[in-house]
């Protein structure tokens, strides 16, 4: 049976958008690193270093793991005058590093292994 190319294109779009809207209707869709699909705020779990996100600040990390911000900055070889209220992502990227580097350091330091 021949398929009309217009119908084919329409089906492609309907199928793709249908999956997205179906997931949204089912409460599965989440695009945020701040809240879960159910709307709960994501916070640092001291047992899991991977819960440290790029939008968090050095103050957030310091408070959660009990490490002074100055120690984190020094360990990451970041300028000592970096405001700890800045987002991790912004500071790390500006210094050609990734947030993963900080996570690795936290892991090495024993954070998250409690």
């Amino acid at each position: 049976m021949r398929i009309n190319p217009y119908v084919y294109g329409l089906l492609a779009v309907v199928l793709f958008l249908g999956v997205i809207h179906g997931a949204k209707a089912g409460g599965l869709w989440n695009t945020s690193h701040r809240v879960t699909a159910s709307g709960e705020l994501i916070t640092i779990d001291v047992k899991d270093v991977d819960t440290v996100k790029g939008w968090m600040t050095f103050n957030d990390v310091s408070k959660a793991f009990g490490i002074p911000p100055g120690e984190i900055l020094a360990a990451m070889k970041l300028p000592a005058d970096t405001p700890p209220s800045k987002r991790l992502k912004d500071v790390m990227h500006a210094n050609k590093m990734e947030v993963d580097d900080l996570r690795d350091w936290l892991k090495k330091r024993g954070a998250g292994a409690k």
Binding site: I3, G9, L11, V13, V19, L28, D50
Partner: protein, 302 residues
């Protein structure tokens, strides 16, 4: 479509010609590209921090779903930069491939659209300015010998897929991200000189000279879509009885597939743009057919 089999198809004129399959496809592609661009601009302009700040457009990349799949299956968690939307989009792409072959690549993928648009600029100048047309023709003649290179380069996307899947599983992080030209384009305001930016610039430059260079040679999503699409009950088939071997389908194919000599287009590289089907001048010679992949192509009536 009411066309006599084997007869020359009459081309629509006027307004009807405007709404040909390719133009409709371009409108759909432009819609998806515009949606992604709006998201990227909103993300760049609105400062992050608030709970309702616009999500990163990365959340709308199905390749993130592939990268996080192993982690999600084994630990129930997502790797960094991936969210549930990445997995859901991957599901949408795979379901689309299973039902309609590479419809995602040809009709939806915003990065494919960007490349097509750039090639379209070259085609526009070729049609209007004779020196540009002459240059393009000379370039085609001079690069004819590179067809062998092209054939080998196409294996690049399988290597990319294998390398990045292996790396992602080992490192549990998006190892492809620094190389991804699509993500670099979406985060262009934060881009620094690195492999992602170099690949993006190379893709943009090459797109002026060849169609969809990223899709042909390096896109790691393309083999997945193409291989899953082999199970789809939709096939592009050529009926040799009605075909007059004009080979215009092969000339028009953006992926340079030998459509004119195949009985069924089974190539992983086919992105189902349907240019070949639309350009074919003979009714019934080249069609999109609903048929299981394991069934034999229709026998041409003698």
């Amino acid at each position: 479509m009411g066309v006599q089999l084997g007869a020359i198809r009459r081309r629509p004129k006027g307004l009807a010609a405007m709404w040909n399959v390719q133009n409709v496809r371009h409108v759909i592609q432009a819609g998806f590209l515009a949606a992604v661009v709006v998201m990227a601009v909103r993300h760049a302009l609105v400062p992050e921090g608030a709970l309702n700040s616009p999500p990163s457009p990365e959340a709308y990349c199905p390749f993130g779903g592939i990268e996080t799949l192993y982690q999600w299956i084994t630990t129930g968690k997502y790797i960094h930069h991936a969210t549930s939307s990445s997995l859901i989009l991957l599901g949408g792409v795979l379901l689309g491939s299973l039902a309609l072959k590479s419809s995602f690549c040809g009709w939806i993928c915003p990065f494919g659209t960007l490349q097509e648009a750039l090639t379209g600029i070259t085609r526009f100048f070729e049609r209007r300015f004779r020196p540009v047309a002459r240059f393009a023709k000379a370039l085609k003649v001079r690069t004819r010998g590179l067809e062998v290179v092209d054939r080998y380069l196409r294996w690049g996307k399988y290597l990319m897929l294998a390398y990045f899947l292996y790396g992602t599983i080992l490192a549990a992080r998006m190892v492809f991200r620094p190389y991804d030209p699509y993500i670099t384009a979406l985060n262009i305001t934060e881009a620094t000189l690195g492999p992602g930016l170099v690949i993006l610039i190379a893709t943009i430059v090459l797109s002026f000279f060849t169609e969809r260079p990223w899709c042909k040679y390096l896109c790691p999503l393309s083999p997945i879509v193409g291989l899953v699409g082999k199970l789809a009950p939709v096939q592009i088939e050529r009926t040799s009885t009605y075909c007059k071997d004009c080979a215009i389908c092969s000339v028009e194919c953006p992926m340079n597939l030998p459509v004119a000599t195949a009985s069924r287009i089974t190539a992983v590289d086919c992105n189902d743009c349907l240019k070949c089907v639309e350009v074919c001048p003979r009714g019934g010679a080249l069609d999109l057919i609903l048929r299981w992949p394991w069934s034999k192509p229709a026998v041409s009536p003698q």
